[in-house]
């Protein structure tokens, strides 16, 4: 079993498993965030639940962080190994003749997403951790805000057009990453044979809906508050 994960295919499978977890996470993240547009009160309730529930905070959150770190580290390890496997560079290489740009540049879309996660942590996660774990305030309330603070904080962040632009660009790269990553993860797990068309359709829809949803939320809050 340990030998399996040391093999090239085992590493692909590990990449795919972490990708499945992250794709599921994105889906639930968008489902909750879209509530900030549809029903701010419910968004506050759900955010407070997610932010204070011990199972989410102490089990799912560490797993998520591990999955993100693992996906990136493994991505780099595989990229380095693959570069080593290349010989002398071709004088002329027509990659566009046989594959998509985004499938050949997963490392660059991935690095953009990594940079985005840094920004996202500074914007939301670090302040949240500071409030809860350093200041010890688990109430979910804020001075001058009626009820929970989460919706107010979200809207406040997207008042800045530079942030909205940065988020939008990052989500476009996320879409490109998913456009290849979704079907690629299934292929790595050995799952596409016979179901290729269906998976490609679902993958295409997923890679458009998820980033478009996040972009919509950012722009909506920018213009409506």
């Amino acid at each position: 079993m340990s030998g399996f994960f040391k093999s090239s295919i085992g590493r692909k499978v590990a990449m795919a498993l972490s990708a499945f977890f992250l794709m599921f996470f994105l889906l639930q993240h968008l489902s909750i965030n879209i509530l900030s547009v549809l029903n701010p009160e419910l968004f506050n309730e759900v955010s407070h639940f997610m932010g204070t529930n011990p199972l989410v905070q102490f089990v799912l959150q560490p797993i998520l962080i591990f999955a993100v770190v693992f996906h990136f580290v493994m991505g780099f390890v595989l990229e380095l190994r693959n570069r080593k496997a290349n010989g002398v560079k071709y004088a002329k290489n027509n990659g566009a003749a046989n594959s998509t740009w985004f499938s050949r540049n997963m490392i660059w879309s991935g690095l953009t997403i990594l940079a985005f996660i840094g920004l996202h942590f500074v914007d939301f996660w670090f302040p949240e951790m500071n409030t809860k774990f350093i200041q010890g305030d688990w109430s979910g309330t804020m001075e001058g805000v009626e009820g929970f603070r989460y919706h107010e904080e979200l809207v406040h962040k997207f008042a800045n057009p530079v942030r909205v632009a940065a988020y939008t660009i990052s989500f476009i790269f996320l879409g490109l990453h998913l456009a290849h990553g979704f079907t690629s993860a299934f292929q790595s797990m050995g799952g596409t044979a016979g179901r290729k068309k269906t998976l490609q359709t679902i993958g295409k829809a997923y890679s458009i809906i998820i980033p478009a949803g996040f972009i919509f939320i950012a722009i909506y809050h920018h213009f409506n508050h």
């Binding site: 093999s7 010989g87 990659g95 690629s184």
Partner: protein, 246 residues
């Protein structure tokens, strides 16, 4: 047609190579790419120069010997053909054609356009066979019932000629289409299932040992493969390895 050729010239494995320009004239569109190379080499020999070394054998797309990375694609711009089946009518008068050897760390250049693909042979030796006693008492092939679908899919995988275009095309120099085809060919048939677990483990281990890269599912190999070997074979190999290991 008159053409300019930019060809990789390299004296031997340890020398540093470079691109060299040549001109060829009066090339017919009905010639194969290798015949055009023959014309060039005749020209070079007559001028007292070293001809360009390139691999070839059957010249009918079966042996898998010819290679060449032509204008940025393995076996050139046509689909479903090897370099020997590529016709000069795919090019226009006045074109410049870039011709390079298949590139991968596991495929070192021996000379000019000839690369050492024996890594593929070692992968085959690691498990690309079935152990059958052939000293008499050989069972009639038709005695083992095999579904038409399984037979056809195994046959499709078996059409891999091991030319290495998949490795040359892959941005990661991965050999997974080749190994996937060889694993699938046997995994789909009852005769291959007896040794299936050991086969996939040993072949993948040898593939990794040879220094081929990791498949990132770009699908470039499937497009450039002269035999149209499908990516499904890689998925099947992944499943086979998971089944054998877990």
């Amino acid at each position: 047609m008159d053409l300019t050729l930019k060809i990789w010239r390299q004296k031997d494995a340890s020398s540093k190579g470079q691109m060299v320009d040549y001109k060829v004239t009066e090339i017919s569109g009905s010639m194969s790419f290798l015949e055009m190379m023959d014309v060039l080499n005749e020209q070079l020999v007559n001028a007292g120069e070293e001809p360009v070394a390139f691999d070839h054998d059957c010249r009918e797309g079966i042996c898998g010997m010819c290679s060449m990375y032509i204008n940025g694609e393995a076996h050139g711009p046509d689909r479903g053909v090897t370099t020997c089946q590529l016709h000069m009518r795919m090019f226009k008068d006045g074109d410049t054609i870039t011709i390079e050897p298949f590139r991968a760390a596991a495929f070192p250049v021996i000379r000019d356009l000839v690369v050492n693909r024996s890594a593929f042979d070692r992968i085959q030796h690691a498990g690309g066979y079935i152990s059958v006693n052939t000293s008499g008492n050989t069972q009639d092939a038709n005695a083992t019932l095999i579904s038409k679908h399984a037979a056809d899919t195994a046959m499709d995988a078996a059409t891999c000629i091991g030319c290495g275009a998949c490795v040359a095309t892959c941005k990661n120099s991965s050999a997974m289409l080749f190994v996937g085809a060889k694993v699938s060919q046997y995994a789909l048939l009852p005769q291959g299932q007896v040794e299936a677990a050991d086969r996939v483990k040993n072949m993948v281990a040898q593939m990794d040992l040879e220094g081929f890269g990791n498949c990132t599912n770009t699908g470039a190999c499937e497009v450039e493969c002269p035999k149209g070997i499908s990516l499904d074979n890689i998925a099947r190999m992944n499943r086979e390895l998971m089944k054998a290991s877990i």
